[in-house]
């Protein structure tokens, strides 16, 4: 399964990069979201993935023993997911503003540094 996830990360990154290189701002945004997802899985994978044993301490024990999923990448990813929502929201609003101002979705139209956007 790890190998499948490795390939999946590659696909997510490739798609993300391809979208970022488009001229459309909406595609740019979606591309960034995909890159974020790919990175999340990357971090997840690096913590050694384990099936069916979440990092939760059982009823009558005080310490996690045996095999369990690594909690550290999970905490990292959880943070990343929430932050990426903030980022997406902000980017969408920026996009919205730019569109309202320029009446265009074309990134090339942004190539007017003197204008007050």
């Amino acid at each position: 399964m790890e190998l499948v996830l490795v390939v999946l990360i590659g696909i997510l990154y490739a798609t993300g990069i391809f979208l970022i290189l488009r001229r459309s701002m909406v595609k740019l945004l979606l591309g960034i979201a995909l890159l974020g997802n790919g990175t999340n899985i990357l971090i997840f994978l690096l913590g050694n993935i384990v099936k069916g044993s979440p990092p939760i301490i059982g009823e009558n024990v005080n310490i996690l023993r045996e095999i369990y999923a690594d909690p550290v990448p999970q905490a990292l990813i959880l943070t990343a997911i929430v932050i990426s929502f903030g980022l997406t929201a902000f980017a969408i609003v920026l996009l919205h503003r730019v569109y309202a101002f320029l009446d265009s979705d074309d990134l090339d139209d942004l190539n007017t540094p003197d204008e007050d956007i």
Partner: protein, 137 residues
């Protein structure tokens, strides 16, 4: 986006979802859940309400502007961070009340921190969504 069915459903869904979000928040320390998820579920509840009744009505229901939630949440989290100083511990030390309290479970500064996170998430998400929805129409 408002249909009778949705409105009726939301009438029941809103309290249930809010209860569920608080449930997630409180159990977060021992089982999957926590301030982030709880806050997000609560936000979804209010977003559903705004779908059914319109954003203005949801804002009325909330009584306070979501921006205030952000401020309140940040304040609560920051307070719970610094309260241990009063007892002479470094900031962010988790302090717990020894007795278990029914329903809530054990009470400690980490719980208040999580509640702060919950409120900030609700405030920020609703603020973003409602601002956008109000200005899109």
């Amino acid at each position: 986006m408002s249909s009778i069915i949705l409105k009726t459903a939301v009438r029941y869904l809103l309290p249930i979802l809010l209860l569920f979000s608080i449930f997630l928040l409180l159990r977060g320390h021992h089982l999957p859940g926590g301030g982030f998820v709880g806050g997000l579920v609560a936000s979804i509840a209010f977003v559903l309400h705004s779908f059914a009744h319109g954003t203005e009505n949801t804002l009325k229901l909330l009584k306070y502007n979501p921006i205030r939630f952000i401020a309140m949440g940040l304040l609560l989290a920051a307070c719970s961070m610094f309260i241990p100083i009063l007892w002479g511990y470094p900031p962010m030390t988790a302090l717990w009340v020894d007795r278990m309290i029914p329903v809530v479970g054990s009470i400690g500064t980490a719980l208040f921190f999580d509640i702060g996170v919950y409120i900030v998430v609700v405030g920020a998400v609703l603020n973003i969504l409602f601002t956008i929805s109000l200005h899109s129409h």
